[in-house]
Every structure is written in C-alpha cells, then in structure tokens.
C-alpha cells in the first residue's frame, strides 16, 4: 500500500496483549492520516462518557501518508485522546525523528488502551511489542528520560513524559526530540496509563506510487519553501510575532488586561535574535529550519532552549515579564518538566490576578509572591505545578478548575475556551479569530483554525463582527485539518498557488489513488465534523462555544484598538454564521443529511468498540 503501511497496532496495556488491525482503504481515503486518522480511531475506541484518565480511554498515535517520503516539512505525528483539561477531543502534533521512526515500524497508528500495572516503557518494533519496567525513570525530566531510553533501546526514538505527566498535571505534554505534543493534556493521559516513555524502532521503508513525479513536485515545493513566504520563520522564527502584535494592539499582557506590553521591544524576537540567539535548527525532513534556540546572558548558569512565540507570550507579557533571561529559563523549565507552556502561563496569570485582587495571598502560595512581573515567582511555581506541591496542586488543574475552587468571581479572569487556555492573540482586536477560538472543538486554539489570517490580511475589518466571518472560520478549520492529516507543516501554507490542488496531486503521487482538490477539501470538512461529533458525544452543548467573560464584557484597555469591544450579541451573530456555513442547526448540531453527505452516518451510528 503506497504511502501507508496498511496496519494499525493496538496494545492493551493492562495485560500487554497486542494485535494488528488492517483498515479498509476507504478509511484511509476518507480520513487521510495524522489528525484525521487519529480522530477516526479515537471516535471508534473512546467509550461514551469515559473519564479521560480512566484506563478505558485510549491514547492514539497516528502517522500520515506524507511521513517518511521526501516531501519537505512532513515529519510529524499526531497524538490524540479525550482531553483531561477540556473533556472534549484532545489532539496535538509534534515533529521530527520520532515521526519517521514510528512510520518505519510498519504501523500507520498505535491505539493504546488500559493502564500498565506499574510504570513502564513501551517498546514497539514491527511484529514485536514489549512492556519494560520504567520505574527507574520516575522523576526524570523529559530530556533525561529520552536519553535514558535511547541508551536502553539503541537506535530507537522516544516519546516521554516529564514529572508533570507523572503527577497528573492536566496540561502535561509528551516530549520527543526536544519537541512537544503540547496542548490539551495529552501527556496527562499517557501518565494515567503509567507509561513513562514509548520507544519505536523500525526498518520498513515507505513506498510511494510515483517516485519521480513526487521528487519533481517536492523540488518545486522546496524552492518555494526557501522564498519570501517563509522568511519570517527562517530569519526570526515565530517570536517575530511578538513585536508586531504589540504594535497592532493584539499582544495580550497581564492576563489579557492589556493588549500591548511595555517591555515588548526588550523581549521581542528581533532583540532575542540580536542578543540571545544560540543557533537555529530544523526538524527532520524540513527545508525551512524555523527552530531558534536562545541562550541566557545573565549572571546565573547559562542555559539555552528553543522559544516559540506562544511560549514567549505566555511566560513573558502574559505574566508581565520583560526579562528575556527569565523567560528563557521558564521555557526551559516547562520543556524539562513536560508542561504546556501556554496553559502553564495562562493558569499562573490567573493566579497572579487573584493575588492582585486579594483572593490569593503569599500565605496561600507558600510564601511565593505571585505578582505580575515577578520572575522569581514564575521560576519557583513551575516546579511546584509539575509535582503538584503546595499552590502547584491547585494550578495543576488549569485555570477553569482552579477558578471553581477559589471562586470569588475568579472565573471572570480565567482566560480559556472549553477549559483550554488562550494562546497569544487578543480576540477583541481580531474578530474572525475570536469566532475561530469560540467554535474550535479543541478549545481556544490558533493551530486548528487560522481564522486570524482574515484579520491580518486587510480583506476584512478586524474590529468588526459580522455573520460573514462564519465561512472564513469554517474554511480555515478545514484547511488546517487537511494539513494536519497529510501531514504538511502550516509554515509552508503560503508556498502554494492552489494548496488543495497541489496537495491533492502530491497525495496522488504518494498513494497512487486519484484525489481531486474538492475531495481533499471535503476530507477536511469530514475530519472537522467528526471532531464535533466526538464532542457532542462527550456532552457538548451550544453554551460551550463561547469566549471568556473578560473578552465579552471589557473593552480593550490600550493600544490602537483601545475602547473596542466584542459583545455577546456580536459573537452570537458570528457563531450563527459559522453554523449556517457548515449546514448545522442553529444549536450547532450536525443534521443527518450532513452526515450522509460526508459519509459519516454509519460511523456516527455505531457505538464505540469497547
């Protein structure tokens, strides 16, 4: 089977029993791979009403047809579970060598159910699955765990959790090659299964249908990937966003109380590049090379880590921190502890505002003075969160649950959608993005919907809410679903003249199966719709598609958009436009005829297999 390996591995961790399943060709064609195939498998295997941390809740790792081929930026794998943070679909992507090695094992996906009797390492080779004792790895950080397992499985590649995953922090990550499947608490699910690490090792090459044609198409794509459309990523990486967002008043700071940041220049990607850049690297199979590692320059022991915009925002302006050395150290801590830096920053920002308003005191936080701008507080509290110690036990629950405990109206400054903390975009100054955040099945997310592109394009008035934003948000979600399923990195999305047509042709060259642009677009809609069905089955209601109350009740305090608002009525108007664009009911449910048109009717009617 060209482009695919043709098998899914299933492992029941409680017993160590494993078996292989062949999926029908129609499933591959309908759900492509990556996030799409993973969503299909999660939908099938996750029981209705399952507790995300119960043994019966599956953890799914999914590869994709472009992985292991020559196609640039395709070395990614998807990992999915019911999110312990949101209670809805949790999905994440991570890049590099693990993705290639996973595909070489001969499996297109791995479905893990049950829980190991004690802490273990799962070793997967084609036709050989082994659970090894992992107790000696307990307490190790992510990088130390990866190194240790790679010594124990020579030639293997590893995915690991850090202390945060061991201790059930609801926003724990899975780390591989120093990168992270970061959002929605995927690492928490792995920890609940008492899996400290997964090692994969394989030899099975990926076959493609038209090698010569694919090489030609890839050469053209590589040439474009080295052009101006990706200059930002190559030159500065995503930290370039920070100063631009500050200047246009959409850089959230001090827990979204402001839309600019006084220290923006100091902590900008431009200044990091000038003063702190250690080196740039790229993922496996990538010709862009966006990854920038920055080093500290203060008096303490030097450290270096990669920084993306979201981490820079969440551990910097969101917390009032303008010291790049402190942010680099905090980012490094999140990486090693296995914490999602966005949710960690968002939850600490909530706690800082609680302190500002007198709801939390240093006595509540073991003497840590959690005030905005305190680097000492941030660096002290992150390890407490990862180990659920002291105030960390509360913050490990994420901002939504922590606000329910502290009460006192603190939910008003818990900045999340469906329980997932907001990334670094101010919804009140980017109305299409605001809609994308509100309706995303994953919760507040800039990766499963790039609706902000309309706001930044000049094609719409970014301060205006209108029903016409619905189709824009829907198209953006579907495109993201396709990119996340083939897989292609979103950083090259501007390198195509006609992305659907060119990607469909590449799919044909890889698999040998005919694929038209409109069929690929429909696959994106199918995948997004199946995520919605998963959420509906998990208890979603119309009330879940909303924004934090701060975004709907307070005007922007500063910046070029000072005084701009987003009202509940405006958001409702845009959401109605979105549901209409998707052909959903006014309550946001998917009609039967819609399911039939997408070929989802039979799947929706079948109960989960376990």
């Amino acid at each position: 089977m060209d482009g695919y390996q043709g098998k899914v591995l299933q492992v029941e961790l409680s017993t160590g029993r494993w078996w292989e399943e062949e999926l029908p060709e129609a499933v591959y064609r309908a759900f492509i791979g990556g996030i799409g195939l993973g969503t299909y498998l999660l939908y099938r295997h996750c029981p209705r009403g399952a507790d995300p941390l119960a043994p019966g809740s599956p953890l799914v790792l999914a590869s994709a047809p472009f992985v292991g081929t020559a196609i640039t930026t395709s070395a990614k794998y998807a990992v999915l579970a019911k999110s312990p943070l949101t209670g809805f679909i949790g999905d994440s992507l991570s890049s590099s060598h693990l993705a290639l090695e996973l595909k070489r094992t001969g499996y297109d996906a791995v479905v893990l159910t049950g829980a190991c009797p004690d802490w273990s390492v799962l070793v997967i080779r084609e036709g050989q699955v082994e659970l090894r004792d992992g107790r000696h790895l307990l307490g190790l950080d992510t990088w130390a765990t990866e190194q240790a397992v790679r010594r124990e499985v020579p030639g293997g590649r590893t995915a690991a959790i850090g202390p945060a995953g061991e201790h059930g922090v609801r926003f724990a990550t899975i780390s591989n090659d120093g990168r992270h499947a970061g959002r929605t608490g995927i690492g928490t699910v792995m920890g609940a299964k008492r899996l400290k690490a997964i090692a994969v090792q394989g030899k099975r090459a990926v076959q493609v249908a038209d090698r010569a044609g694919l090489l030609r198409a890839n050469r053209a794509l590589i040439a474009r990937s080295n052009g101006p459309a990706t200059a930002k990523y190559r030159e500065l990486g995503t930290p370039a966003n920070l100063l631009a967002f500050d200047r246009v008043g959409v850089l959230p700071s001090h827990n979204f109380q402001r839309a600019t940041f006084d220290g923006a220049e100091q902590i900008s990607g431009e200044e990091l590049h000038r003063l702190h850049l250690a080196r740039t690297v790229g993922c496996a199979s990538c010709t862009v090379g966006c990854e920038h590692l920055y080093r500290t320059l203060d008096a303490a022991e030097e450290t270096a880590t990669r920084l993306e915009y979201e981490t820079l925002f969440a551990l910097g302006p969101l917390l009032g921190l303008a010291d790049p050395n402190a942010v680099i150290r905090a980012a490094r801590l999140c990486d090693l502890l296995g914490l999602d830096s966005i949710s960690a920053g968002g939850t600490i920002a909530w706690a800082m505002e609680c302190c500002e308003r007198g709801l939390l005191t240093p006595a509540d936080s073991g003497g840590i003075d959690l005030r905005f701008g305190s680097a000492e507080a941030v660096l002290a509290v992150l390890p407490l969160i990862a180990r659920r110690e002291g105030i960390g036990a509360l913050l490990a629950e994420g901002s939504r649950r922590a606000a329910a405990v502290v009460a006192g109206g603190s939910h008003a400054w818990a900045l999340h959608v469906k329980g997932l903390e907001l990334p670094g975009y101010e919804p009140r100054g980017l109305k299409t993005l605001a809609l994308g955040f509100a309706v995303s099945p994953r919760g507040a997310c800039h990766n499963r919907s790039a609706a902000y592109e309309a706001d930044f394009s000049g094609q719409v008035d970014r301060f205006k809410a209108e029903a016409g934003r619905g189709p824009l948000a829907a198209r953006s979600e579907d495109l993201a679903a396709v990119l996340d399923s083939l897989v292609l990195c979103k950083f090259i999305r501007k390198c195509f003249d006609d992305l659907y047509a060119e990607a469909a042709e590449m799919y044909r060259l890889v698999t040998g199966w005919p694929m038209r642009a409109d069929e690929l677009r429909l696959a994106g809609e199918r995948i997004t719709t199946l995520k919605k069905l998963f959420n509906v089955r998990a208890g979603w209601t119309r009330a879940d598609d909303t924004l934090p109350s701060r975004c709907l009740s307070e005007p922007l305090a500063d910046g070029p958009g000072a005084g701009e608002r987003l009202t509940q009525a405006e958001l409702d108007l845009m959401i109605a436009g979105y549901y209409a664009a998707r052909g959903w009911t006014p309550d946001g449910l998917v009609p039967a005829e819609n399911l039939r048109a997408l070929g989802l009717d039979e799947l929706a009617a079948v109960p989960a297999v376990f």
Binding site: A244, E270, N447, E453, F456, G561
Partner: protein, 100 residues
C-alpha cells in the same frame, strides 16, 4: 538620510521582523507632503532603504513581495496598492504570516 523630516510632512515606517534585520534599522521617515498611494510609498521606501528593494519591496511593481504586509496607524492592514497614505501616518512593515 531623511530621518529629520518634519512629522507633519513625513510618513514614519517602523520595520519589524525580517525587514528590520535586512535593513539593519528599526525605522525610517519618508518625506511625504501629500496623499500618496501605498504603491507610491513603497517606491519611496525602496529608494530610501535599498536593502529592502528585492527581498521585501518589488520596486518595479510597487508591491510588497509575498510574506510582507503594511499596517497603517496600528489599525488597518493594507491589502490594496491603491490605499491612501497621508502625511503624519505611521506605517508598520511586517511579516504577513502570523501563525506560530
């Protein structure tokens, strides 16, 4: 260099991201004493900051290359080369891809 052009007869352009690295400067001031189109401003920009001509500004077509966009006064992203710029306006020249 025209960094001292009077504020009411100038358009200030702040360079962000790769444009700043290429130009080796944070901003410049263009002498503008009447309303100009974006295209005309881009020609001026390429003239006064030659490092941007080519990788950022297509001076012949009076457009930005793929990957860049202008913003006026922190509010409006300008997609049309015919959009008007007035003396005293402040422009941001930034990368158009916002993701990450």
């Amino acid at each position: 260099m025209i960094a001292n052009a009077a504020a009411d007869q100038a358009v200030r352009v702040e360079l962000l991201g790769p444009a700043r690295i290429l130009a080796g400067r944070k901003e410049l001031s263009l002498p503008v004493d009447r309303e100009l189109t974006v295209g005309e401003v881009l020609s001026l920009l390429a003239h006064h900051c030659p490092a941007l001509a080519g990788p950022v500004v297509d001076a012949q077509r009076q457009t930005l290359t793929a990957g860049y966009i202008l913003n006026r006064n922190g509010r409006d992203f300008l997609s049309s080369p015919d959009a008007l710029i007035r003396p005293g306006d402040r422009l941001l020249l930034l990368a158009s891809s916002a993701g990450g």
